[in-house]
Amino acid sequence: MSARTEVVSLIEAPRTRPNVLVVVTLTILGLIVLLAVFGRLVSPYDPMQQDLGLGLSTPSSEHWLGTDALGRDILSRILAGAASAVVGPFVIALGAMVLGNVLGLLAGYRGGRIDSIIMRWVDLTFSLPGTLVVIVVAGTFGGSYWLAVVLLIILVAPGDARIIRGATLEQAPRPYVEAAKSIGVSEPRILLTHIWPNVAPAAIANASINFAGSLVALAGLSFLGLGVAAGTPDWGLMVAEGRSLLFVNPVAVLAPAAMIVLTATMVSIAGDWVYERLSSRGMSR
């Protein structure tokens, strides 16, 4: 039994003109995505290049955010780190959306045995603490970024499946579904082109929640040493590496930490906004 209370939203009413907060959010997110793709091109130094002669240094005109213990430029590593912060969560959110939506539609529409099999899997993953599962499996196989991505898809998709199943149950008895059935529309087509568009706002909103959650989870696993390989420019790993340098160059820790919070927050706000827009357009009847 979990408490399902109404979710508070920063963007209260659907607006016709764009909200300042939304414009700022989308701009920052756009920049971060650009960084994820082109980060290495614009970074002032090679993020992997060590300068052992320089070693740890505080911010200077040459290294704006200073360097880490191996003399690597912090700013360059933060720019390059956008890649692992965006790519993995995107794959997880998309993978979980596809898997969860297909299973949720099937469970809600067909009911019966397929429904109870899918729901048992949902119950099992809901009763396990997800992060712990990833830690245990990573401990067994040796941690890696893509292993964590695959595991998170499997652990996150049940949330999507549960939401879509509920929404589908609500749509299935409606006249338009009846009508489509009676004129002989095939089942995959009813599910994908008739029912899915009506449950899509919930699916997309949940994908953005999953994106923010996976960003934090992947960064956390890298922080614990169970995510990206040592040496990779990654915000979570940078927090772990810089923790002992907190007395000398705190920026080396605080800057990547701030990037994690900033990106996750922006994704949540953007998700809220997309949800409000889609539902106010009458897509969720």
Binding site: V8, E12, V136, G139, F141, F223, A240, P250, V261, I269
Partner: protein, 317 residues
């Protein structure tokens, strides 16, 4: 007795789930890359004697199901074998670290509920005011701040820059421990507080909308009496469920916080074990945490029953 039947039914369901989890956890030894001998021997130089000794000790020459059965019998007595790294019994290591983690979790839970209830109720009563909007914005940021990130921020401000609190360790004795764990507990509580605020605010708003609240005010019942006896009592029901979820989150957050603040608890134990692929230790901790989380879930269900006569009638009927 309906209540006893309910608890028995829930305990049986938990037992089935635990059985499934234990099977998955045991299978890890065989899913891990390399043979079971490779996993258990690690870098220890091997000779026929050590291999034979391990085979006998872990019954590796028996069929898989028999091995599982033998392992399960041990697990039921909380015997998970010895850690590969330290060669000490797994259960002993876990129990030695449990008190620190429990202390940290309870401390953080108290902070979360205090902030969550106080701020959540305040925001709901001042709905749509500047303060409410500001608090809602803060919860959005708080929810996106993982424990290890809030950890390094608090560590920097209060320990490195201001020097008010120690930067690592768990301290000895109650007061010293309270002092050492203050920063970790607050770091751990930030994300949970945001979660509680969000749900408390929503729960209180839902009750404030009810006709019986308007009617109570119309009958001339004082504001504070309406708040405590009408609004909060009814809002507590969803909040109880949230607080049980929060406890399970705390346990996972503690893993990150213990690493951030170098606290020698169960969290840092499982991370160390995972980083060195110490399977018996991983298996032991996984079962322990699964047990604790399931216990919380059962408690949450019982709390619902105690708080809400409607749920009680529906579930026990």
């Amino acid at each position: 007795m309906a209540i006893v039947r309910f608890i028995v039914r829930r305990l049986l369901a938990m037992l089935v789930l635990l059985f499934v989890i234990s099977f998955l956890v045991f299978s890890l030894l065989y899913l891990a890359p390399g043979s079971a001998i490779d996993v258990l021997l690690k870098n220890v130089p091997r000779n026929p004697e050590t291999v034979a000794a391990l085979t006998a000790k872990y019954h590796l020459d028996e069929p898989f199901i028999t091995q599982y059965w033998i392992w399960l019998q041990g697990a039921l007595r909380l015997d998970f074998g010895e850690s590969i790294q330290t060669t000490l019994p797994v259960t002993g290591e876990i129990l030695a670290r449990l008190p620190v983690t429990v202390f940290l979790a309870i401390y953080a839970f108290a902070i979360e509920m205090a902030i969550g209830l106080g701020v959540g109720v305040l925001a709901a009563l001042r709905q749509r005011s500047v303060a409410d909007r500001g608090l809602v914005a803060l919860t959005v940021v708080g929810l996106s701040t993982p424990a290890f990130v809030s950890g390094v921020f608090l560590l920097y401000v209060f320990s490195v820059a201001l020097g008010w609190f120690p930067a690592f360790g768990a301290g000895e004795g109650f007061l010293d421990r309270l002092w050492h764990l203050t920063l970790p507990a607050f770091s751990l509580a930030i994300v949970g507080s945001a979660f509680v605020v969000k749900h408390v605010r929503a729960a209180v708003l839902a009750v404030l909308d009810q006709d019986y609240v308007t009617f109570a005010r119309a009958r001339g019942i004082s504001r504070s009496k309406v708040l405590f006896q009408y609004v909060l009592r009814n809002a507590m029901i969803p909040i109880l469920g949230v607080s049980a979820m929060v406890l399970a989150f705390l346990l996972i957050g503690a893993v990150f916080i213990e690493v951030t603040f170098s606290i020698n608890g169960m969290g840092s134990l499982v991370v160390k074990a995972a980083n060195s692929q110490d399977l018996p230790m991983i298996q032991g901790v996984a079962i322990f945490i699964a047990l604790i989380v399931m216990g919380f879930n059962l408690l949450a269900d019982l709390a619902y029953l105690a708080a809400d006569p409607r749920v009680r009638n529906r579930t026990l009927a």
